[in-house]
Amino acid sequence: MKSTLDRRTFIKLTASASGALVAGVCFQSCTTDKLPATVYGFSPLIKIDTDGWTTLIAKNPEIGQGIKTALPIILAEELGADWEKTKVVQGDYDEIYEEQWAGGSYAIILNWDLMRTAGAKVRQVLIEAAAKKMNHPANELSTRNSRVIHIKSGDSLPFEELITEASKIPLPETVEFKPIDSFEIVGKNIPQVDLDQDVRGTTKYSIDVKLPEMVYATVLKNPVFDGGVSSWDDSITRTVDGVLDIFELDNKAYGGRLIGPNSPNFVNGIAVIANSTWAAFKGAEKLNVVWDNAGSRMESTEGIFERFHSQLTSTSIERKDGNVVTAKRKAASIFEAVYELPFLAHLTMEPMNCTVDFRADLCEVWAPTQNPKALQEGLIKLFGLKPEQIKIHLPRIGGAFGRRYYVDYAMDAAVLSKKMGKPVKLTWTREEDIKHDWYRPASVHKMTASLNAAGMVTGWQHILANASRKTSLGREGNPAGTEIDSYEFPGGFVPNLQFEYGHVLSDVPLGQWRAVGHSATAFAVHSFLDELAILNNTDPIDYFLKFLGPARMVPVVDDYEFDLKRLITVIEKVRQISNWETRLHEGQGRGFAASKHSGSYIAEVVTVHMDKNDKVRILRVDAVVDCGIVINRSGAEAQVVGGILEGLCAALYGEITIADGATVQSNFHDYRWMQLDEVPDIHIEFVKNDLPPRGLGEPPLPPAAPALANAIFAATGQRIRKLPIIKQL
């Protein structure tokens, strides 16, 4: 994801540098007839009320990443609003908002300038209005605590007294941002805006929606990937008290499994409609279905991995610098290692669900989606609706981690509501949720290093073989993309370097998972670097710093650079706070890994203790993060802790296995997740600087698994080359 991210940012910044300020595009259009001033005051995101309160629209889906708090913080900062007198309201899906999605750690990156511009332009209008009323020149006025103030005289006016005057003034063409060193809200510990309702149980998720006349539904899908329904007997189901109706869900009648080049439709199965969720669940359990699996490869984990291993010798070259063959010939020694990673599930705490009220004039949807635009496109494709016939609400979402990038479950609900002519709340059981996930792809990595007499790398070859998320279920795209991209680390750091990709086709549905491809490649790359350090009897941090070389800008690809000074800074700092140099007790060890992801630099040290039964206990994690400006200190820390714990937990336990063409695991009892008593002490530091804020949802995750495996090696001498760790000890 690294380069795509930086490229997009680059494109946007270029556009703004060329005069057409990107952030202004949306908000200029909003001042025209597209959005009447009566709808939302001065800007579609900011409303100043006569009672002195400012309402801020949170436009992006809130999946637990804190964006519902973070984006309004930026608005309030530039506006000069009193945070204690702001209300935050979640916006529905609306194209006027732009970049209204959650994924790839993009939300802050793509909205930083948009939010600053919206806040600043409204501030500029308020100041202009105040200048007239206060008889002070506009350039001597500023805003603070929801007032326009004249510092020299001490005069001030509250925002609410400027509404009439300000509403006559158009939004300015040019924006004047506040100096970053004058920020008063950004960077503080701001509690999540919904915290009070969270602790009272009154936060509404889409699973909590209740509408008049609403009926309840669940689904029983063919567990074999992409299979169909041959026949079914619902006679017992129809005797279940509360069951109202039973339908086959056949995606062939709705455009097939793929409804766009990259958007999958619903999975085939049977739906049960009832007057309660429980009746629907019971009814589905009593169905007797003969599945049609004629088109299935009937795969197994063992078979899939055999094919991955064979594909290591039949690859496409994704990047070629210098000549790795010559480097091997000239090398003092050559070192090889193969790493394997499993399929992973998402297990969002809120299972897949969706409520749809499909009326003749309007299809109204309450969906836990990261990707409302894809949901809208799906409804257009399935039912021939026009965008104005679709209304998508974005309630709070009980976790996403990439699963909710896909909208298959929402298509289920829409089909059922249309059939019933009533609002339908669809709830998947946890079993359906795990068996019909979009898994993190499994992969095999063969790493080869050519080393000189000093033990340093002169040639680097990384061959990755797997089934790609890009081509899963016949989707279009370069199969190597997001598995091993040309900008993968250490591209740009080694003169002779080759990345290769071996493509395998599989029925397993594959998709985004926190940190995408980097969640796997970082394990192989940073475990391998640790092995090279050990091979050379060198401290792993010293070896890595020597491998990186002196602080400089490293061109990786085209417009994507690596600011090595920032990476070295976080590494040196984590060495210090983790007490890396001090001795540990027998059976304990420390491991290190550091990487750049989504524009953020992060270094982590994991400390473990191995007991006599080789049971691993993670004692402590230290992390130092440079993500540029921190928007909300409390939310940022939560993201780093969460990312680290997810990385550690997945490395220790995470594994989806496949047998007879279907997922073996079915619920939390056989897909283990970390519990409170396993959580280590976690120490986090942020580097303070004034650089533009970068992503934070994903970057903490990739270094966690290799740092843990490296720590286990330090403690025991056992090298972990295959995940999950629990199966190796």
């Binding site: 804190g66 919904d194 149980g201 509360g242 009980g398 939560a638």
Partner: protein, 154 residues
């Protein structure tokens, strides 16, 4: 469909449901107390934790017919204004991320402190075992329980 009288948040509620209906679905679908969450349906994640006769129970595995003898407390019944000490500590430490598991976490933590006002680390581990948070709010959960416990000593 038989009729049952339940005591929920100290109020008598008469509802009609099949005897095997889990308390979770009575709370959510019939009584609109949606703060109690469905996640696994088999008692293995803790998101649906409520108090029954003062003890934390998984409401997805407790049928309505077996929950008639005592008071059932849900997250909505902890306090009128969100200031029960555990709720307050949760707010002081900004514990929630996606928020979905939080009512289960809070119900387990309040049950612990009601019986054991000064829990040790191990007591906390035992009481909170099996209540899963996918976002990883665990470090703040532990601190919030300790904070609430320390305030009750004052």
């Amino acid at each position: 469909m038989p009729s049952y009288t339940l005591t929920i948040n100290n109020e008598k509620k008469v509802i009609s449901a099949n005897p095997d209906t889990p308390l979770l679905w009575v709370l959510r679908d019939i009584l609109d107390l949606t703060g109690t969450k469905f996640s696994c349906g088999i008692g293995s994640c803790g998101a649906c934790t409520v108090h029954y006769k003062g003890n934390p129970v998984r409401s997805c595995t407790l049928t309505v017919a077996t929950a008639l003898e005592g008071n059932i407390t849900t997250i909505e019944g902890l306090s009128a204004d969100g200031t029960q000490p555990i709720q307050q500590a949760w707010k002081d430490l900004d514990v929630s991320q996606c928020g979905y598991c939080q009512s289960g976490q809070i119900m387990a933590a309040t049950a612990l402190l009601s019986k054991n006002p000064k829990p040790t680390e191990n007591d906390i581990n035992t009481a909170m075992a099996g209540i899963i948070c996918r976002c990883g709010t665990y470090t703040r959960i532990r601190k919030a329980i300790q904070l609430a416990a320390s305030k009750s000593e004052e």
